[in-house]
Subunit: 339 residues, 6 copies
């Protein structure tokens, strides 16, 4: 049977010029929604695993449209809070060739950024649930969200849920100095840690990583993971590896450490449609694999293949089918027509 | 020769679903810009009268796109300020039949709302200029904008500019109690007062209007104008009159009082394309007429015909030609093809 | 507290050229979904009343997209069946002036049309529910759907649910001769009967209506309702009245008989955006009113105002807010901007 | 059996901003094709009457696209000439309310405007054909087109074809002085004369029309028709009557004189989609009616109803079905959905 | 002189989300038409070779639009049949990177699938024609289409036409067991056989292919062709070779055997726009080359270059010019601007 | 401080099917504006360097829209001339893979092509300006434009401006024989010469280039530059080098000779969005670099990186930011998201 997941964070309005146009060239914007934790929820619901999303939305038609975008894909939004002033926005421009994609945030003072401790009844929300997922973006939104995230992880742990975290450090939201103690405290409650690289370990979490930058990326990942486990009680450490040849072409692979062994996925060469949300598709797919109790190797292969395919999907949300992921895991990346 | 006009206020990003879709139904938004004072500037530039626009924009591609939208139509933006956090946004939904159009604001904390006294060098800006126009929206944005508006009108008056104001009370931005003293002080410097109705006079400015609601609209407008002139030194008082039969069909006319006589335009029956910005087109066209030193009757007829035609134009900005206004003033509303 | 409603029928893919283009003029089609019973479910969910939708969908991405369109708007689709060959389609062309809108069906052999008795576990579905709504379209889809509809109404009645029916005779699906016995049997289980006109009563149900076509429409509706109650045990009889001045402009009103008194709504003159689904918005809104235990007059006024407003909405689904309906009921059809 | 029609003239690229946008507001243009004579050909082919179109097109992809647009709708283009420098263009802006639609021509130096006498083998083209239709636009394109038109009408007459002409005076192409002798000579060969009004008769053809402007439009049309028949040998004289209430709403009717009696259609009140090409739809539909040997009353009713419906169609080309015309002739302009 | 070709099959409505969107992500669909045999007809007409298309279409606006799409490009549709219930549909999703394109069929019960023997007068159709082309899709549509295809090939052979067949086995339409005897019988009448690979030869046609899968693709193709010629009287055997590196990038080449010698085209590396219909562009271009009596090497080079270029064209239909094909055959694939 | 630049030439309406569609496949066209000299002006204004554009535009809404497109991006258009018959047009089709992009001109008889000597007051225009830029396209438009260009360069030289020229030979506008003497005379006044290759030097300018085609492209460029300096007094000679692997992928680099040394940029491998205008972006960026007094190596690196990035921008106009150019010059072409 599936296990019930809860995610918590900010869902933003995503506005984007069509094609390769810049914001100074367009008179229309594609309108979708996205946010790291909601994207994870969509990935799980997309594969058929029940998932609830917790956030706070303004009581207007944009808040409704945001929630509708999740309901449409099967995410349970029955417990979101309503209130606050506005929905956060992010604008994107598609990159191409040597021109990088651009993300422009207008998220200050959003409903969720203004949340206060005590507003969310975590005990009620976690009742009957198995897993809680958050990211490092939510505590960066402000003191309120940071405190509420801490409420969430402590309650989750007390109630026996597995807790996962995608580190996702965002320098525009807070400094490494501000992030350090907050993230360190939160990570004490985390079982599955995703996306902690050498920079994050050293500059934010204060580790001294041996031979930083020496060796190939897999041996360095293993060293880093072992270092992290000296302090934290992670059951799993995972990350992705992107090689940016250009905005149009990337290499992509992933690695997992389960405290005993190290597992690495194949590397995929990807011709880009939309890279935003690919890391979240990786998280959501890894959670799905772990909930399905796949072997570690199959888990990291599943998450890597799924997130590889996500690069071919427009928008934050993962619309890749299980069958497509399994076909790619089985080696078929030939792009033959599926009639 | 043309006379140089300066306007000052907030230019917002305007986002709107195509056709008659609601925000909960769309996956794209038409992207334009609009704001009461900028719309007035565009009207003037559109007719060939030089006009400068003063505001503050964030230093990002949305701020650039906003300024570009004015430069494109010939408005001088060479003295705008750059800085602040964000550009204000408003979302609109087209109305139809009995369903009213909707405007949803997300304008708090915009760059211009955060402006502080002293940031704008009004003496330099007004050098060589003849006319300053503002609206009641700008002082409603906050204490900073209110103070800067007061700087503007006092400097303008000192430097001999004509000052015009479109009252534009917005209940979502401030209460009648808050608006009262601020607007009263500003109106002391105003020559041309537009858009003060019985509600505004009584509830905000504290007048006692004789026989409120009694008589036809023209006699009531005359009574109101005479009352206002007991306190303020307006050279002209003008207003428009909208009869809302439905969201699709409106009646539209305008009235002018020049301290001596009362002038009324024909009433137009309008099948609606976009009513947002029509009042601003009226203001801009009235300013143009007064700058051209049209007779009072021709002035109000010009402004009424131009703003009637604006209802057939998509977006905030007035794209109606002088020739089209003149044809309608001459009585041709038949819609014959202009080949 | 809200009462739980269940609807059952066919949800079709709706494909439509943009604007006023014909199918022979376009190279793109707007893609939405619609169906009489699903439209009723959306109306209820839109107002916040829980509603489940029961149907059968093919296990492909079009079936998923159809179900998603309902989930998005809060309709519970957790008990739909999956299987069958295809989703039904209908093509529409917008009408204008003297040119009528066109609906072209391609719905034969859809998954729901191929359903067989016993496939749906009505006892389980109706557990804890209060109301069942169906239309005369579903039994017209074939013997299987007719039999399943009969299963539904008999089970519903046995379990104490209120049953409502929108008659919706479709001559392209079956003859009056075929429809007669099927509809007569189904109507025996109906409490709230909607959309039975003189034609349906005489030609399908075999009544002899006194003075058919004599008198004004309200006295004729009363006579018809009284006639129907001689045979059926309807608690309520309701209908709408459309006056087609052209494809662009219609008159619209509604009438209700509660077995004792006759209630009539105001008539609205409507400038058209999309008339498809307006009758369903009437049904859904009437059900909402009855579930809210509004007075009969308020009920018919609510349903008439809501369905009037639906004519301004693109697509089958009702996106009109409660506040908008209440404003129109209170007399405001002026189309003033809601800022 | 159908009778074969030949039309001759200029087909232009038609470029138009979407919706109600102006050319200064858009970044895309809808691309269709249109021209008075081609529009007539499309009307005939649309009803199933064989029709050939003769013109000259540049040998590039725009010329091909233009010809394809006619082939698509069943017009025979097998005898068009290829060569010359460019295709003529016209830009349109949709009008609304008091704002008139705009047509902006860029047609000078088109392939057909540069045609020379002798380039077209009219004897071969008219072989086996029954009817030739031209308009007053073609001879206005230049001396070459005027001479080729004269070749066409003299050859047509010699070979026994019926000849029809839509007068279509365009002041931007030539003066009344220039048009006078050319049109007078051409009209000597015409059987069915369409669109000659009092202005054309007096100022271009040099008639003295009794009581110009006196009486209702039908008595004036009769007087005009009788005057024309004193000089020309027209078998039929026909015209349309447009009452421009605004760009959004028009009155529309038509009149026919067959040398003996006068026939008038009903007047239609039309809510506008696109009026360009409506006169051509009238011509094409009148030709169809005469070829079908309808009675005069039915002929003018058919042509009036068809061209009324054309106002609801986007683009120059008539996409109205015979069944729709017949339904409107039978009195159904209610806009009921055709399911 | 050109030689007249006839093709016969099913033309479907093709519906496709814009860009890289999935069917679950879109609210509009691009609308075109396509079908293997119609695509071949379009290729021939596109190069200027007369071609007739035979099929059956429903008498509604979709049937008309389908036929119009062929008329537009110069295909003769004067002898298509009208009737039946519906037009077949196929939905596509664009692939990208490792995500394969998807084709979803909804073609059962189409007008052509319901055709019965005797409905088409092949003798009349083939009168004056030189070549008949069909594919293995048509007999797979059902017993009626299979029987009508057999009528076609026997009549064609009797009347001296060359017959070509693109094998096109579709496993969703019939099993290899069902296909075997039908295709074997039809191939007895075929001169030019395209698209028979080792799988088709062994599993459907029952050949034992020596050393299946051994050797390079050209030596294996020669072995296969020689094997086929032991049983069938093919004058030419041809096939294409696709190497699927991903959905975005493919290798593409082609081979021809004329009973004596083996000819191979260059291989092209293709960055994909739309691969659907490329095989049909190969067929149509090969037929054109053979009708032009190009040498075998030039024929296979022409067909390979043309179908390579088709991958850069949106939609099923080939819009590549002869000049473009010849430029690529001459070695210019540099993509220099053609000004 | 920035130095004021003047450019002079033709700005055309650019019409382009969306995506990869051909002109025979589309029913809408993207509408932008472009022209070699205007594109240079936009590049300069885009980087913040003041630039005036001189041309002549028809007094209609297309002329206005063209000028607006430049004003929008900060180009000074205050001195353009108004008059003439039409605006020139060019149609483009996007290329892909082996299919080359297409440019189809319809520019004859444009307002600027009809300009006569004496119409432009160059002394007034050049007052206070530092640099004049033209291209070889303008003198090719006709005798009038050629004479006016000569007026410009002689006046510019007399007034002490630096003069730059992009050679831009267009064979569709004039022959090498016609271009020879005109370009030779103009080049006598040029300081910075761009885009003269071996073909131009030999066939148009009549040089004998040693070892034409021998050696690598950099040694050949040096040889060519030295040869040119034997006759002309160029301070700088620059060119770009494009390697066309396909329409989708190009190599791109640039070279500069300052009379003493030779400088070469890195080569970029570019995945294409839109290559039209890239050469103009190179010119504009090189002018900017020289005006900023960058070193020669930095100048050519800046111009090469900027024009590389322009390939990722839709439309003629350069929308690349200084920060993006500098990041690429610093080696970051990885396409990492700029958040």
């Amino acid at each position: 049977v599936n296990k019930q997941v809860v995610t918590f964070g900010e869902l933003m309005l995503r506005l984007e010029p069509p094609g390769f146009a810049r914001l100074t060239q367009t008179n229309s914007l594609n309108m979708t929604f996205g946010g790291a934790e909601a994207n994870v929820a969509v990935s799980l619901a997309n594969y058929g695993n029940p998932c609830s999303y917790i956030s706070k939305f303004p009581s207007n038609s944009l808040g409704t449209a945001a929630v509708n975008s999740l309901r449409q894909l099967g995410v349970d939004t029955g417990q979101v809070l309503w209130g606050g002033d506005r929905i956060g926005i992010y604008y994107t421009e598609n990159g191409a060739a040597q021109r990088a994609p651009v993300v422009l945030y207008d998220r200050a003072n959003s409903a969720i950024a203004q949340i206060k401790p005590g507003e969310i009844n975590w005990s009620e929300i976690f009742h009957g649930k198995n897993w809680f997922h958050f990211t490092g973006i939510t505590p960066a939104l402000g003191e309120g969200p940071a405190a509420v995230t801490l409420e969430a992880v402590t309650t989750a742990k007390n109630m026996g849920l597995t807790v996962s975290c995608d580190f996702n450090y965002r320098s525009k939201l807070w400094s490494v100095e501000a992030a350090g103690p907050v993230m360190t405290e939160l990570l004490n409650y985390v079982d599955v840690a995703i996306g902690i690289g050498e920079m994050e370990a050293e500059q934010i979490l204060g580790f001294s990583v041996n031979d930083h930058g020496v060796g190939d990326c897999s041996s360095r990942f293993r060293a880093l993971a072992e270092t992290l486990l000296q302090k934290f009680k992670f059951s799993h450490v995972a990350t992705t590896q992107r090689n940016g040849y250009s905005a149009s072409d990337n290499g992509w692979s992933a690695m997992l450490y389960d405290g005993k062994d190290f597992y690495q996925s194949p590397e995929y060469n990807i011709h880009m449609v939309d890279r935003v949300g690919s890391g979240d598709a990786f998280c959501g797919s890894l959670l799905y694999a772990l909930l399905q109790e796949y072997t570690p190797q199959k888990s990291i292969d599943f998450a890597a293949a799924a997130s590889c395919l996500k690069h071919s999907i427009q928008g934050d949300y993962n619309h890749v089918t299980l069958a497509e992921v399994e076909a790619l895991m089985a080696g078929d990346g030939s792009g033959r027509i599926r009639r």
